[in-house]
Symmetry: C2
Subunit: 360 residues, 2 copies
DNA sequence: CACATTAATGTTATCGAAAACATTTCACAC
DNA sequence: GTGTGAAATGTTTTCGATAACATTAATGTG
């Protein structure tokens, strides 16, 4: 079968323990022996057996991630952040994906990771406060870090400033003199989505603005598209759309463009996330940036730090969000304000067409 | 520390071997004993130790994936397909991500997975034929499956019909009476990108069409955007753009829209991949679909099947691509053909504006 | 009733690496 | 030259689960 210490030891003419010393970089091995062992390792193509290492060491130097579907761009970035930081700290990363956020599935995923003897677990799945606390209680041998769990939970968490970010979006649209708002939220089960919606709602009612309708999307472009089509089919009148992520905002823009409703003038749109694509939407999207990568990185950093702390202090870190203003929002053009200018353009265009028509 | 068989056995009043029999679902255990053991397992919250299992069983029932960055949407879908199929066949999945496609990194990743005693490895990183063959040769104890490796390599592979798909895109644009083509490729290191470019080139030269310029992008929207800006800055004239993926096509569309160059009329654009967003671009993108999920799934399916085959037969599966026609392509409007129609529209618009202007 | 058969369970050895402990060798001090 | 300590290496035991083998008890058969 596979090459083990025994084979290496035999070839190098030493004991297995000496081989172990070499692979672990112990300093009490003579240079000549070390060389001989390393040569044997290379010659045989020795690869350590993680299972055996885990067993004898007791710990695995591995961090587990329980995550939503990585096909969601934000999720993939968070996972990247986690992996990267884990790797930097000398940890491996084991990823377990849960399709839906059924609690049983999540527990099973954690059990799966626990069976791999992971030392830490980062959970990036929407959970209620109770669920998070229950997990910590149930899996006492594991150290948890949660991402985007409700604030004030008695667990370690790292969170984006969803509510504040949402409020900034509203404030910006109010500054754009918008009055009637359409909301497109994420799935209600998502903590992030709930927080954003709450932020929107708070700020809108506080400023006496009108919420025309609220649609629950599923994060992808189609749900944004369908929301707008439905709203327009119902002849609802709005001059601003708040969208819970950029991908749905793409669908929103598509529907508006398709129907010839001018963005940003007639309807302004603000997204959330600032994914790299959103700068290239038509028009480029005003959005609220959150730093997914940093979220993942900080989750790991704080988790590893927290174990050195006293047991009853939690890491509760909230990362800032910030408004990125692009062309999908603007102050409403007063009717007729630019009309003369547009008229001039039209005349010019007309003349051009006319002449080309005559030439044919 | 953690709960082991010993603890369970003691509580249930049986031997550890009996506990093992229960957890492995052996049939020669009396129902009462089984119940007693299961109760003990639940009471203690026993979780098996994968390392120990691996060690004693010899095999891990795990499949390794070496993959590019999962932040690329297509990659994430492939990984999903692999995981899903592996899971279905009773295998776990260990993911190792390599940042760049440096060969040393890839080898290290495989070694890492091998140390976890994976039984199979799916490689989704651009490799040359030689590299792929070398890996198979070096890691004799592993069973490999490659995704998108050059055809006719002497290894197992699953591949999308890049070249054919690319040709379909060209044929479609030729049917749209396009003459001057701009190319935006993916990174040259990518096998998929090379195959697509080759397909474009072949079909274009065969039909005597003009390649105005070729830009090498890095898969993201910005590189598509920059390509167009550069081409226009150099006053290049083209009426069709072939783009190696949809995300870059988004950037292409953005640049064209921004400059008021009408898509599809003045310039038609075809992407590649058919990611879910592309139906919601402005305008919705004509593109070549490839089924990433199926690619991942088939990779695993064939890999598991192949080990039952004779050693010197390779699985070499090529999955079809298909053209999805949307609004980013069209037959070129003959100058003046629709002019009268447009003129009528203009007149209507003018009247509307005029009246609103007078009202103010 | 003695003996074969099977069901249910227990005992021991094993996987590969590493920790704990043991031994050997050599250098140096007194 | 004997004792002390450190460096280099070897031996034994351990981790947790399981395969291989061993035992016991119960059942059935001629």
């Amino acid at each position: 079968m596979s090459v083990t210490f025994k084979d290496v030891a035999k070839l190098a003419g030493v004991s297995t323990q000496t081989v172990s010393r070499v692979t672990n970089g112990a300093d009490n091995v003579s240079p000549e022996t070390r060389d001989r062992v390393n040569q044997a390792i290379n010659a045989l193509g020795y690869i350590p057996n993680k299972g055996a290492q885990m067993l004898s060491r007791g710990k695995s130097k591995t961090l587990g991630i329980v995550s939503l579907d990585i096909a969601l761009h934000g999720v993939a970035l968070i996972v990247n952040g986690v992996r990267q930081q884990a790797y930097e700290k000398g940890y491996g990363a084991a990823l377990s994906i849960v399709e839906n956020n059924e609690f049983g599935r999540i527990k099973a995923a954690i059990r799966e990771l626990a069976s791999q003897q992971v030392d830490y677990i980062v959970v990036n799945v929407p959970l209620t406060q109770e669920m998070a606390e229950q997990l910590v209680e149930q899996f006492t041998s594991l150290n948890f870090m949660f991402i985007d769990v409700p604030e004030h939970s008695k667990v370690n968490y790292v969170c984006a400033e969803h509510t504040e970010g949402a409020k900034m979006a509203v404030q910006h649209l109010i500054a754009c003199q918008r009055e009637n708002f359409l909301l497109v939220t994420g799935p209600n089960a998502s903590t992030g989505s709930s927080l954003r919606r709450a932020g929107w709602r708070d700020e809108l009612t506080q400023n006496g603005k009108n919420i025309v309708a609220s649609y629950e999307g599923d994060w992808d472009a189609q749900s944004g598209y369908l929301a707008i089509r439905d709203a327009l089919a119902k002849k609802q009148s709005f001059d601003a759309v708040l969208v819970a992520n950029d991908q749905m905002a793409l669908g929103v823009l598509c529907a508006l463009n398709e129907l010839g409703i001018s963005v940003p003038d007639k309807v302004s749109v603000v997204g959330f996330d600032n994914i790299s694509d959103s700068a290239f939407f038509t028009p480029p999207l005003t959005t609220v940036e959150q730093d997914f990568l940093a979220l993942g990185q900080q989750a790991v950093k704080r988790l590893l730090d927290s174990t050195e702390q006293s047991p009853h202090s939690y890491c509760q870190l909230i990362l800032p969000t910030r408004l990125i203003v692009r062309s999908s929002t603007s102050v409403k053009t007063k009717q007729g304000e630019n009309a003369q200018e547009i008229l001039n353009h039209l005349d010019k265009a007309r003349a051009l067409l006319q002449s080309s028509l005559e030439r044919n």
